[in-house]
């Protein structure tokens, strides 16, 4: 599977309150081959089972991704662990499916002896290191997020350091929701690095509603093949075929 992993990374601190059910939309995205990961940012007075944050887990489960609740202080390290964990999880799922084709139903990695398991994990690791990755970051900018945006920015720059240390190529883009007129607003267009996000973050404004479901739906469309093909071409002509389009 020399291809591109596609992920939506949703950063939020609360529950959706407008539009369709976000977990259902996440499931839709997953069916399109896009994994949805969710990081719920807790306020200092919150506990890990704060009400309303159950949604965080539900969305990720439906979206085939990873979820985690964190306090602002540990956001930076969490963003990159969640992203990497989700990559491994997706690749492992893929390998498990292949295994079942070879070995028959209900055979998973765990059923193999440690030696074979080792060989297979080696392959999973190779894929994780070399595959191309597209991450669409979806930032909740409702009013309560205001004091967290600076940390979000730091975490995203850090994520780009981590992922760009891999052999495979990366593209990132950032959308915020709720948008001014639409469900989401583009903050930062597809680009291989995030170090220049510093300039866009101060401009984010905060609104009152949290239309998480519609936001995920819109985000899903941003992975459209055409625009992607174009941006890959802009960057490097020769790489287009390799990515499988």
């Amino acid at each position: 599977m020399k291809g591109t992993l596609k992920q939506i990374l949703l950063l939020t601190d609360g529950c959706s309150n407008k539009g369709e059910n976000p977990a259902q939309t996440a499931e839709l995205a997953y069916e399109q081959g896009i994994t949805v990961n969710v990081i719920g940012i807790l306020d200092d007075e919150h506990t890990e089972d704060a009400e309303g944050l159950q949604e965080v887990e539900d969305i990720a489960r439906a979206g085939g991704g990873v979820s985690q609740l964190v306090y602002k202080q540990t956001l930076v390290q969490t963003v990159q662990t969640v992203t990497k964990q989700a990559m491994t999880q997706t690749l492992q799922g893929f390998v498990n499916k292949e295994l079942q084709q070879i070995l028959g139903e209900k055979q998973t990695l765990e059923d193999l002896d440690p030696e074979k398991r080792g060989e297979i994990m080696e392959v999973v690791e190779d894929m994780g290191e070399t595959c191309d990755l597209e991450v669409l970051v979806l930032v909740d900018t409702s009013a309560s997020m205001y004091d967290k945006l600076l940390t979000v920015k730091e975490a995203l720059i850090d994520l780009s350091i981590s992922l760009n240390s891999r052999i495979g190529r990366n593209r990132f883009c950032i959308f915020s929701f709720p948008g001014k007129r639409k469900d989401i607003d583009r903050v930062f267009d597809w680009s291989p690095k995030l170090d220049s996000v510093s300039t866009v973050f101060p401009k984010l404004s905060s609104g009152g509603i949290t239309p998480t479901g519609p936001a995920i739906r819109e985000a899903m469309y941003q992975f459209g093949k055409k625009s992607l093909l174009r941006s890959f071409r802009d960057e490097d002509e020769s790489n287009v075929e390799e990515t499988g389009y």
Partner: protein, 312 residues
């Protein structure tokens, strides 16, 4: 699919006296006590055929397999690396039917660098540095970068004192992205470079290890991280002789551990020469001689011991 692995890890109910029997290889281990716990699993001191061993067990099979792969390929490397050797890899099914992956390694009995230095004196710093650089050199030479180098992952075993490392969770093939790291020790966090696995990545963490010994509560980045690091290096008296190589390593100026080791060896040699001339001069005057001879003696012994260990 399993989610939230890191914040909702299920506790494994393992108590002293219990017997863990492997599903594939049929070996069994008697649990003695818990040694420690990490992000991936828990490590227990166990007994196997009357011999102490360290057993790491976890419900995260995939991550365990990745660690085992590292240990296995290090096993093939020639020479004695600083990590524990791998003895067994297997699965365990608990009484309640839950499945766990485990691996067994050599038990390393030792203490942290910090407590070793406290008990034996600052004179040992140079020697520990050289030993660690030696180990890193071997590791790098075999195509691996340690990655998560930190005080918690280093042990000094006594008789004779030598530094060893545990936990290969961060150990990464050269040229790839570092698998696991700890912010304080990570050059990416300090804005001093990428997370690409290369010798200079470990050498940065190397410096942070020795800073952490003298700043047990760590310190913040500040507005200018590089300046903060330089100030912190300059402020530790014991590290004065090593300032230059430490700063070079922080800035990623060393391409290999060999280069850094050379600089530190030179410093230690020079230090010894100074001590020798100073003590002989002072000895004639006969003032404070006993004290000087004593502290000079320890450094000399430590260094001699180190040079000796190279010959073994």
């Amino acid at each position: 699919m399993k989610m939230n692995q890191t914040w909702k890890r299920q506790d494994i109910d393992i108590r002293p006296g219990m017997r863990i029997k492997g599903k594939w290889h049929d070996k069994h281990y008697i649990v003695k006590r818990k040694l420690g716990e990490g992000a991936v699993g828990t490590v227990y001191l166990c007994e196997s055929n009357g011999r102490p061993v360290a057993l790491k067990i976890s419900d995260q099979g995939a991550s365990m397999t990745v660690e085992v792969n590292v240990l296995q390929s290090l096993k093939k490397v020639q020479g004695n690396l600083l990590g524990p050797s791998l003895l067994d890899v297997d699965d365990w099914v608990s009484a309640s039917g839950a499945k766990y992956a485990f691996y067994v390694m050599e038990y390393l009995q030792g203490e942290s660098i910090t407590s070793f230095i406290k008990r034996h004196g600052d004179e040992w710093i140079g020697v520990l540095m050289l030993q660690l650089l030696d180990g890193l050199e071997q590791l790098h030479h075999s195509g691996w970068i340690f990655g998560d180098l930190k005080i918690d992952n280093l042990l000094v075993i006594t008789n004779p004192p030598s530094i060893r490392w545990v936990d290969v969770g961060g150990t990464t093939r050269k040229g790839r992205a570092i698998k696991e790291y700890t912010e304080f020790y990570d050059r990416g966090y300090w804005g001093m470079g990428t997370r690409r696995a290369e010798p200079s990545y470990d050498l940065f963490s190397f410096v942070m290890v020795f800073l952490h010994v003298y700043y047990p509560r760590r310190f913040d980045k500040g507005t200018d991280p590089e300046k903060t690091l330089v100030q912190k290096i300059n402020a530790v008296r014991v590290l004065t002789p090593y300032r230059e190589p430490l700063k070079r390593a922080i800035r990623g100026k060393y391409q290999s551990s060999v280069e850094m080791k050379q600089d530190i060896t030179d410093i230690l040699r020079k230090q010894q020469r100074q001590i020798r001339t100073r003590t002989s001069r002072k000895a004639k005057k006969a003032s404070h001689a006993p004290f000087l001879i004593e502290s000079g003696g320890i450094v000399m012994m430590a260094t001699l011991y180190y040079l000796f260990s190279l010959l073994l």
